[in-house]
Subunit: 118 residues, 2 copies
Amino acid sequence: MPYEKKIPVDLDCPLRLTMSLIESKWKSCILDELRSGDTMRPSEIHKCLPEAAPRVLDIQLKEMVEDGLVAKTIFPELPPRSEYQITELGKSLLPIIDSMLQWGEKHFDIFEKKYGNK
Amino acid sequence: MPYEKKIPVDLDCPLRLTMSLIESKWKSCILDELRSGDTMRPSEIHKCLPEAAPRVLDIQLKEMVEDGLVAKTIFPELPPRSEYQITELGKSLLPIIDSMLQWGEKHFDIFEKKYGNK
DNA sequence: TCATATACCGAAAAATTTTTCGGTATGCTA
DNA sequence: TAGCATACCGAAAAATTTTTCGGTATATGA
């Protein structure tokens, strides 16, 4: 296989399971982008997360589809077109994403001061 | 430096900030272990997380102390003794840990079926 | 005396993830 | 016709994290 995780998800404990689904660098951001429920094309997602290497987004989107967090529709056209949309399972993670977002906003200044502008 | 993260935390966005504080393999579990507020000695933590290599726990505990999630008390004795305790900042992450734990419990069977027992 | 336990560190190896680069195929526009 | 965009893939390089191993120091128990 081209690129594949050794262990798809961590079944050792429920906490590690949830973490393993979202801990890759951009997965939580992808869920956040898709939160509205609207479909997004890959190129849009890339535009919204310009710091992410396009290849990682491909890989992580693929894993999220495999994990059932995101659904993919491929249109058999040329040039190719496809769309991604958050699933119900993916939506059920949004409260977690929200609370992390809020926590980060609330405590941002602590870490800004501590680690910020090098 | 012996072992050090390139970038301590991710200040690009609040969501990535929160993720970067807990996404290392065992940090969320460490917070979960320390949740009661009682102090724990390193050897206890190691016993509670036997699958983690002791060295990673050392490293990750040290980072969590640096990040302010955990407090450390060193007793100047021999043989050495030290204690770790969750801080208020660390406690403020517990609702997130809780919701991940609950999510994992609720959806465990999906992933068990999908990826489980090889 | 020898083994064990304690807490931690450094170095190097191994594993994993992320990034970079190049390639596929085709339609549109200049 | 040339260049660009689209969506994706493979391979390899780079970066990062995790693991393994060995070492520090001293007290206790066999």
